[in-house]
Symmetry: C2
Amino acid sequence: MQAARLHETGGPDKVRLEDVSAPEAGAGETIVRVHAAALNHRDVFITRGLYPNIVLPRTLGADCCGEAGGAEVVVDPTIGWGGDERVWKPDATILGVPLDGTFAEFVVVPQENVHSKPEHLSVEEAAALPLGGVTAYRAMFVRGKLQAGETVLITGVGGGVQTFALLYAKAAGARTVVTSSRDGKLERAKALGADVAINYATTPDWHKAVKAAVGAVDLAIDSAGGDSFAKALSVVRPGGRAVTYGGTSGDTSLKMFPIFWHQLSIFGTSMGSPADFKAMLAFVSQHRIKPIVDRVYELSEIKSAMQRMDDALQFGKIVLRIPQ
Amino acid sequence: MQAARLHETGGPDKVRLEDVSAPEAGAGETIVRVHAAALNHRDVFITRGLYPNIVLPRTLGADCCGEAGGAEVVVDPTIGWGGDERVWKPDATILGVPLDGTFAEFVVVPQENVHSKPEHLSVEEAAALPLGGVTAYRAMFVRGKLQAGETVLITGVGGGVQTFALLYAKAAGARTVVTSSRDGKLERAKALGADVAINYATTPDWHKAVKAAVGAVDLAIDSAGGDSFAKALSVVRPGGRAVTYGGTSGDTSLKMFPIFWHQLSIFGTSMGSPADFKAMLAFVSQHRIKPIVDRVYELSEIKSAMQRMDDALQFGKIVLRIPQ
């Protein structure tokens, strides 16, 4: 079968399309015939060696929609979360390094990770859902406990998780403030219902602009860390919450006084549990949420697809169509 | 009546004992005849101008045990918390600047802040309870959600809040790790049931010593901030919690990766709500917890009492006996 594989780190350019034998299912496992897959930053980070636990060569990819047992399915990409809702087991992992992933004609996964595709979604939309969808769900609702009527700040809108967060927030009846360094992404976010959109590149004191626009937010979610997280935290109302699900801009210097004096809560989150994944599917189906598909590439165009993500040009999810 | 008052900031030496007229109760207020009062770091910080909202001259003091309406009472020192359990109202305050406090023969407080003294406590023990007791209760149980069988790290044991935290943790069936820069305080903490005691001054890598002793902790509570909070957070297990209730050592540089990857939670806390205060009194009564009284001074010795706190020599609460 065709698969997009990585033999050595060094960037997206190192990914190769090759012919490998199709996987076989062991006990308790299912073979999914992949119809479409989607990219995550994780895939690019792995090509650069910027991820724990890299074992090569492997087929990349965490997300997919496909067919198993005659049904259209999506796959929960978190393998072996374990029984603790608070955190995954130390040996849990995500599809696509160190396990062979979804950028291939077939992928083998534990049976319990296979779920029916939400009926209202196309194959491409469903492929875009799993990792970003569950990460945003856990960040917004399980950790962030977003309520109807609250205001949420989503930094760096345009990435997969952030775009899901925006869609979820609207569906949950929350007001949204988004930031990006690109006006085009801010326009897209507004078209999707963002109430306030601020360019953090042209407005370095964007936290002051947030305060001027909405006073304060009940919840802030951020995956940049560094200065971005510190500024996001500074606009959280007393008694409010901030969620971090990444730290691409580095470590953060935090002022302790506002944290204890204003009784703030900071929640770290990553991926989601099996229960989170099921709750996410139910929420997406109930509210008929459609993942934003940025662009669809053929599997053979994998390098261009990864380059687009690496250049941060996308708004929503980048999808790969897998040859049948 | 006699009262220990501050007319200008400049340190504990600026506190003066003087004769002032006794307060009168307005609508919904109660006069408490103070039998004993207790010091908090807040009182020392105020003499230095290191606290928000300082209005002078005022009588210092947040804690007391006394008599009202013929009954022995303790006073909830948080005035006007409001209806939100998550955080106090912006205009809420603590007894003793900007309201006249408890280092006096009489203090006037809202009726609902007056509670029966726990029967098993002496007047001095009960005076030691309110602010430190409720701060520790909220930090450990309301924010930190400590459970029986868990392990909790308490940094800087010896202060009032930390000592309550140690007593509460033991009563709740938790294992405790404590730190201090003074061996004498560590010995006292061990005598009170601390399972592991580490001198952070002689062991600068004390977080490694914590790991070596207990692996990881479920909950860490810290009021130093800075390097202390960062090290405390580094020993929290995946899915675990850290509580900050102060930042005397300054701001903290936080590594974002472990926060989101290990799904940590960080909770800021300060004082406690009326519900927290009642729950604290019930917990203290149920477990017959006795606040640790470091030393009892006469009101006339207020400067020596404050100096002892300023020198961080105390273990537990410093109490003032008020002349009758």
